[in-house]
C-alpha cells in the first residue's frame, strides 16, 4: 500500500479543523432557532464524517494521479476516483435522509464544509514553499 503524502495529511487536518468550526456554527444556528435536538448533533457528525472522508479520499486520488507518468492515465485515475467518491457521498446522503436518527438538513449541510474551507485556504497561510504555491 502506498504511503500517504504529508501534503494530503496536512490538507486533511486543515479541513477537519474547518469542518469542526463550521459544525459548531451549525449547532449554534439550530440552538438559536430553537430547533436543536440530538438528531441535529448526530446528523451533523454523520455529514461531517462523510465530507472529511470524501476529502481524504480525494487527496489519495490526487496523490495516485500525480504519481502516474502518462497524463491520460492520471486523468482516468482521478475521474474514476471522483465517480466512486460521488457514489459514496450519495450513499451517505441517502443514509442521512432516510435514517430517522439524523436530521436531514444537519446531515446534508456539512457536505460542503471542506469546499468552503478550501476557498479560504490561501488566506489562512498554510501553503508553504515546499508544499504549496
Amino acid at each position: 500500500m502506498r504511503k500517504v503524502e504529508a501534503a494530503v495529511w496536512r490538507e486533511t487536518i486543515y479541513v477537519v479543523c474547518w469542518t469542526a468550526v463550521l459544525s459548531v456554527l451549525l449547532q449554534a444556528v439550530f440552538l438559536i432557532l430553537g430547533k436543536w435536538d440530538l438528531t441535529v448533533l448526530f446528523g451533523n457528525l454523520w455529514g461531517a464524517f462523510a465530507s472529511v472522508l470524501n476529502f481524504f479520499l480525494m487527496g489519495l486520488g490526487v496523490q495516485n494521479a500525480v504519481a502516474k507518468e502518462d497524463p491520460k492515465d492520471a486523468k482516468k485515475v482521478l475521474q474514476l476516483s471522483q465517480s466512486m467518491r460521488f457514489l459514496l457521498l450519495a450513499l451517505f446522503a441517502i443514509g442521512g435522509v432516510l435514517i430517522s436518527l439524523f436530521h436531514t438538513v444537519a446531515a446534508l449541510v456539512p457536505f460542503v464544509f471542506p469546499q468552503f474551507g478550501m476557498l479560504f485556504r490561501p488566506r489562512f497561510g498554510g501553503m508553504d514553499k515546499e508544499g504549496g504555491a
Binding site: 490538507e11 490526487v62 494521479a65 497524463p71 471522483q82 457521498l89 508544499g131
Partner: protein, 94 residues
C-alpha cells in the same frame, strides 16, 4: 385527478434530480481530469515540484468539486424530501 397530480409531481422531481446530477457531475469530472493531466505534465518537466503541485491540486480539486456536491445535495433533496412536501401542499390546497 389528485393521483394524476401526485404522479406528475413525482415524475418531475425524479426528472429534475436526474438532470441536476447528470449535468452537475460533468463539470467537476472534466475539470479535475484536465487539471491532473496538466499537473502530470508539469511534474514531468520539473519533478522536484511534485509536493507543491500535489498540494495545489488538492485545493483545486476541492474547489472544482463544489458544484458536483451542490448538485448531489439538491438531487437527494428532490428525490427524498421535495415530493413529500409538494404532495402535502397539494393536499392542503385541495
Amino acid at each position: 385527478m389528485l393521483e394524476l397530480a401526485i404522479g406528475i409531481i413525482l415524475g418531475c422531481c425524479a426528472l429534475g434530480a436526474g438532470i441536476c446530477m447528470g449535468i452537475g457531475a460533468i463539470g467537476p469530472g472534466m475539470g479535475e481530469g484536465q487539471a491532473v493531466s496538466k499537473a502530470c505534465e508539469a511534474i514531468g518537466r520539473q519533478p522536484e515540484s511534485k509536493g507543491a503541485v500535489t498540494s495545489t491540486m488538492i485545493m483545486g480539486c476541492a474547489v472544482a468539486e463544489t458544484t458536483g456536491i451542490y448538485s448531489l445535495v439538491i438531487a437527494i433533496l428532490l428525490i427524498f424530501v421535495a415530493p413529500g412536501l409538494m404532495v402535502d401542499i397539494l393536499k392542503s390546497a385541495l
